[in-house]
């Protein structure tokens, strides 16, 4: 609290003491258009779905822990992996990242709210409704014991598996409509974010002074337009096929199943970067603060991120090497996939450059960021392996692929996300999270992660196919699968610790004050939690680290830019 005055602290106190009756609070949250409240709702909703999808993952791992298991039926297993994948991508990944985007972007750029507050609320409610609709499917058809009529076509919903003949009933429609709604909400929020960053910046906040997280939200949101829209289009086609009897993906009438794969992966692969870029943004904000250094190579970071955004649009068919696109197609997608490792490498070296010679403070968020660096590197390396078409032909449908993408999605994105939880919790609630519980969470999760996903590569190399519900004892996969399952349970326990920590700290955490980490971006200039309109007076900035300038008037950043 380097720059706190008694007056400011008094203001912080008054803001916190305002507690009102529950009915008022509910009305306030449901009808809110405040970007911070919507951001928090996004985060809470994503956390709930994280727990649900986590339970689904644990069910799958219990089923696969021992050979010839009959814990769940094959049908339920299919439903579990479909729902796990769909939920994690559409109802955990996107909402939580956009939740942070919603919360932080206006604060970071010195704006009072998003550009279109009501559109913001619309985006949240429509995607939350999509999630509810998807899970409503559990109550249909076969009853709860048979997991209702939850979708069972995989999160990729390959044609012709989704045709009326192969998937009768309504489960595929729940999938299509749920995902379609979440896509509309995502596009609305992305539109809002881009407009906010471009037209709501405070005085002096030039594009070259945007905090890196804001830059990455801008790039991610711009990608959403060209990434989510194709999926929306493909979903409309699928609905037409199923309800009006059209023939887009109907091979009997000359339609093409490969066309669905193209449309799906035009969304599906860039989506990984849509998720990982905000996670990069978290790391970009946290590493400099806990290294006590300005981010190394700001322009290179921005350029590399934009490069990732562009190149990621031309890599989708590496999911389809085994389909038989022919040598020309495969070669193109091998090279474009390899090229994306260049900007990614630049980012890794920039983070290392930031750490280099810094005064590193090992708080929980920083620990998560450092684990992120290692794991993201490994994930990139197996990614390059899979980008080589001949190698992919061998392992395309094996657990090696599952291990690789979980390395990215959990090892990079979820770790970045956990770092963000600990880092911004004091700003959002005004209380610190417990560091002890945080360290338990960190170590349990890291150990569980490595037990689970390091060992998962090996059954893949030994030929264990993905999406199978059980296997014979004679294949040599039993011990490995047991280790993987134990690792999954470790991660589950760690997430429960996180949730306990989040709830406990809300009531009993240490008071945070306005700037507990001695950070530099604008969100730490307002009280925690920030008042409704963020800034009583429109701020004005002179450098990339406005709070540094304020705390160190003798050596302002603006002199060096």
């Amino acid at each position: 609290m380097a720059n706190s005055t008694p007056v400011m602290e008094a203001i912080d106190q008054t803001i916190e003491s305002k507690r009102r009756p529950p009915s008022d609070v509910i009305t306030e949250w449901v009808s809110t258009v405040d970007h911070k409240k919507i951001g928090i709702m996004y985060i809470v909703y994503a956390l709930i779905f994280l727990l649900i999808a986590g339970v689904e993952a644990i069910i799958m791992r219990i089923q696969l822990a021992v050979p010839n298991n009959d814990f769940v039926s094959p049908q339920v297993f299919n439903r579990m992996f479909t729902m796990h994948g769909t939920t994690m991508v559409f109802f955990v990944g996107i909402p939580v990242l956009f939740g942070y985007g919603n919360y932080l972007v206006p604060l970071m750029i010195g704006a009072r709210d998003m550009a279109f507050p009501r559109l913001n609320a619309f985006g949240f409610w429509i995607s939350a409704f999509g999630g509810l609709l998807l899970y409503f499917s559990f109550f249909g058809g076969d009853g709860l014991y048979g997991a209702g009529s939850a979708p069972d076509v995989g999160w990729f919903a390959y044609a012709p598996l989704t045709a009326k003949v192969f998937s009768p009933g309504n489960n595929t429609d729940y999938w299509t409509l749920g995902v379609l709604l979440s896509g509309i909400g995502t596009t609305a929020t992305a539109l809002n974010t881009v407009t906010t960053v471009i037209s709501m910046r405070c005085r002096g906040m030039t594009m070259g002074r945007l905090p890196l997280f804001t830059w990455l939200m801008l790039i991610t949101s711009s990608m959403i337009f060209v990434v989510v829209s194709p999926l929306t289009a493909a979903q409309i086609m699928l609905i037409l096929d199923r309800y009006l009897g059209s023939h887009f993906f109907d091979t009997q009438a000359g339609g093409s199943a490969v066309l669905w794969m193209h449309f799906f992966w035009i969304f599906g692969h860039p989506e990984v970067y849509v998720l990982v870029l905000p996670a990069f943004g978290f790391v970009n904000e946290i590493i400099p603060v806990f290294s006590r250094k300005a981010a190394f190579g700001y322009p290179a970071m921005v350029a590399a991120s934009a490069g990732i955004g562009f190149v990621s649009l031309s890599v989708w068919a590496h999911h389809m090497f085994t389909v038989g696109l022919g040598p020309a197609g495969n070669t193109f997608f091998v090279f474009s996939t390899m090229v994306i490792s260049v900007p990614t490498g630049i980012k890794i070296f920039n983070w290392l450059g930031t750490l280099w010679g810094g005064k590193i403070i090992f708080t929980v968020p920083m620990l998560f960021c450092i684990a992120f660096l290692f794991q993201f590197l490994v994930a990139g390396l197996t990614g390059i392996m899979l980008a080589a078409a001949p190698f992919d032909w061998q392992l395309g449908n094996s657990y090696f692929v599952v291990a690789h993408f979980h390395y990215v999605l959990v090892g990079a994105i979820v770790f970045g996300l956990f770092a963000a939880f600990y880092y911004w919790y004091p700003k959002i609630t005004g209380r610190m999270m417990s560091e002890t519980l945080g360290k338990w969470h960190f170590w349990l999760f890291v150990i569980g992660f490595h037990l689970c996903f390091d060992f998962m590569h090996i059954p893949g190399l030994l030929g264990m196919p993905r999406r199978i519900y059980t296997y014979e004892a004679s294949r040599g996969w039993e011990t490995l699968n047991l280790i993987v399952s134990v690792g999954a349970i470790f991660q589950g326990v760690a997430v429960l610790i996180l949730v306990y920590n989040l709830v406990r700290s809300y009531y009993r955490g240490e008071k945070a004050g306005r700037d507990p980490w001695d950070a530099w971006t604008l969100e730490w200039a307002v009280p925690s939690p920030p008042p409704v309109y963020n800034f009583a007076i429109d701020p004005s900035v002179n450098s990339r680290r406005p709070l540094w300038d304020l705390k160190h008037p003798e050596e302002p950043d603006s002199d060096y830019e």
Binding site: I11, A190, T195, I198, F225, I236, S246, A253, G254
Partner: protein
């Protein structure tokens, strides 16, 4: 409430800090997202040209909708005229421009409706007949639905204009609407080329 932003307020008298209009930026974003949807439908259309297993085929049933196309494309000029007039505070010119746009857009939708009626009841082509029907109705229908949405907004603007509630300060909002309408027109050029020229 004095929440005392800790950030100093300086250079207030310096160079003006001007940012782009959020309405226009938002509309441009929407147009990019919509273009991507159209792109996917266009790709599907091109991919399935000549792959129908049964008739009717486009050569047999499609006629060039020249009249509707001319109407739709000229409506870009009328909406532009409406915005330009409003900027000069000429509310009467704006009203005329809007009315012209609604009229021309309405004629376009009517010609599409007539074409569909002919195809469905006389040629027996529906969305489930063959791949041509599937891709034709979905692509042209996607465009038509955008025209209808545009017309709803234009009629609203026209109604407000008739009530005398559209004034010079609303010029920017009308410009946002006109951007959407120009986009719908531009997409029609692509759809026309793909469906009625390449597709035949």
């Amino acid at each position: 409430m004095q929440t005392a932003s800790a950030i100093p307020i300086n250079e207030q008298g310096g160079a003006p800090w001007v940012l782009p209009s959020r309405g226009i930026i938002g509309m441009v974003c929407l147009i990019i997202a919509e273009s991507a949807i159209f792109l996917i439908f266009v790709v599907a259309y091109i991919f399935y040209i000549g792959k129908s297993l049964t008739g009717p085929y486009p050569k047999e049933v499609l006629e060039l909708p020249i009249f509707g196309t001319v109407c739709l494309l000229s409506s870009s000029f009328t909406i532009h005229h409406a915005v330009a007039a409003l900027r000069k505070s000429d509310t009467r010119g704006c009203l005329l421009g809007l009315a012209g746009t609604v009229l021309l857009g309405g004629i376009f939708i009517a010609t599409t409706a007539k074409e569909w009626y002919h195809l469905i009841y006389h040629e027996g082509l529906t969305v489930r007949t063959n791949l041509f029907g599937t891709t034709y109705y979905s692509l042209v229908g996607l465009h038509a639905s955008h025209v209808i949405v545009g017309l709803i907004m234009l009629v609203t603007a026209l109604g407000l204009s008739l009530a005398g509630r559209v004034r010079e300060e609303h010029a920017e909002r009308l410009e946002v609407l006109s951007l959407y309408w120009h986009f719908v027109d531009g997409v029609w050029v692509v759809v026309f080329t793909v469906v009625y020229i390449l597709g035949r």
